[in-house]
Symmetry: C2
Subunit: 311 residues, 2 copies
């Protein structure tokens, strides 16, 4: 590893070369393929691309913890699914109700408070909560190789955006400290908001109604609504990112799509087409035809997580 290597936790090889080569080609002054800085837009899926998503999405841990925290105000939950199972610690049963059950959990835990209050609830939780297996804070389960990519892109004149199926206001409170991505560069799923007054002061209330699902075909739409131009670089890890990578790489000029393939059962978890969380099937199959780079975590990443700094 040279002292000047911007990606020291990446193993040498074609994956690292293709990413470094692309960034060099579009950003080196005088490069024949140089892209104007204003068009250097890079988008990143979050769960499974920037941080771990197994055994379940971090936001699901948050929602279940919040059900337990709010339970004393809701004695009826002890008899009512999907809450009763969560309170008994039986998460699998709580999710047997499918999407309606999930929606009910999200609305019970993410709505009914103001944006400022929700920001505080998320900030408090993320500063304390730990992964049940690794015992690390979730913000210490971000991928060091991806932090290096983010930093190198910004140094190369890119604007870096998160485009996630996760809740936009669940990511914003910590994305800047953890990823260097400010709130205005986070795109995600959202619930409806309403401008209201409490004791004469204005607040923005979070309503129990879905506004936008930023997944699959929703990702290019979210990109257009928030960013307003087509990215030239996209990183994802599941079939939920298929359309984002397709939209990114179908434009003219130099473009790159990258898939993170979870292949490391020792340092993280190996999963793809059979996983409920982060299912990767079609995108992996079509990657060669689409010209997308596939990162093999086990082979291409020398280190997964940053050195632990807990507690």
């Amino acid at each position: 590893v040279r002292a000047s290597d911007p990606l020291p936790s990446w193993a040498e090889g074609p994956a690292k070369e293709s990413i470094l080569g692309f960034i060099q080609r579009v950003s080196a002054p005088g490069s024949p393929e140089e892209v104007p800085a204003s068009e250097r837009i890079a988008v990143f899926d979050n769960d499974g691309t920037l941080w771990s998503e197994q055994p379940m999405y971090v936001q699901a841990f948050f929602a279940f913890d919040r059900v337990r925290q709010l339970a004393p105000e809701h004695p009826e939950w002890r008899e009512r699914e999907p809450f009763a199972s969560i309170l008994r610690g039986d998460l699998a049963t709580s999710l047997q109700g499918g999407e309606p059950a999930l929606l009910e959990i999200i609305m019970a835990t993410h709505a009914g408070l103001t944006t400022d209050e929700f920001d505080r609830v998320v900030s408090d939780w993320i500063s304390e909560a730990r992964h049940p297996v690794t015992k690390r804070r979730f913000t210490q389960m971000v991928y060091l190789p991806m932090l290096e990519i983010l930093a190198h892109l910004r140094k190369s004149g890119f604007k870096t955006f998160i485009v996630s199926g996760g809740g936009i206001d669940f990511m914003r409170p910590w994305a800047e400290a953890v990823y260097g991505v400010p709130p205005e560069q986070v795109v995600g799923s959202s619930i409806r908001l309403a401008y209201q007054y409490r004791d004469g002061s204005p607040v923005i209330e979070r309503l129990a109604e879905i506004d936008f699902i930023d997944d699959k075909v929703g990702k290019p739409v979210g990109i257009q609504q928030h960013i307003g131009r087509r990215p030239i670089l996209a990183f994802g890890n599941s079939d939920g990112d298929y359309q984002m990578l397709e939209w990114t790489t179908a434009g003219s000029g130099p473009r790159l799509g990258v898939l993170i393939h979870h292949t490391d059962n020792e340092r993280e978890q190996a999963y793809d087409r059979d996983s409920l969380v982060g299912r990767l099937d079609r995108a992996l199959r079509e990657a060669p035809v689409q010209g997308w780079a596939v990162i093999d975590m086990k082979r291409d990443w020398r280190q997964i997580y940053p050195a632990s700094v807990q507690p």
Copy 2:
């Protein structure tokens, strides 16, 4: 005017002093009221705040021109309101149908094509169209004093956003060249989008359905959805900006709300509480109580428009 004056087209006086003083207080290194650069968010209404909006919104000129342009493909419009009146040049009658008529005009002229196509249609139109009275291009009817404010804010570490009731994708094609505001920092009203395929290539289609109205109580909501934090500085010119200024200035720490009052009947147009376009009544009345600065265009602006560079 000193050579170092960042606002040379502003007359000396309390308006200029309050704005310059605020920017200095929050951005000068070591200032007791210094605000972290990441929190230096400034938002600007567009119509009547950054460019002229009389005798009607620029986007309305665009819509009417586009009805005329599309008319050959729609022979039925010659008999059907609101289109028949537009084609006869009788814009007042065309708008007598109120909001449903307006909506029909917008959907007929802004939907049914892809985002890339709409971008091109807007870019072509704005490079040619001229104001009926001044004969200037609309992009030459931006306010020079506001361009100076935008530049001075960016030099002082602010991020500048447009937050307009106008169409987000109507502003984005030219906002960067004209205001220095990139597409991802434009917030506005929007119609629904859909990711689809045409001849095997992905496109984003503009659907004939309203997605979001970024006006009045919609402005703080649009700010939250797009920016994700509360601005510390807001400029507006009408009652449609009331909630944006209220939300901005109700937070803690140093904050400033500014109203542009159109008082100059010689160089532009004097209007406020009785105007259909850009009506300013409640916000002007409550400005002293709210602590908002009021710019008197006639008194405070030495020059309105940039020196003309047409044709």
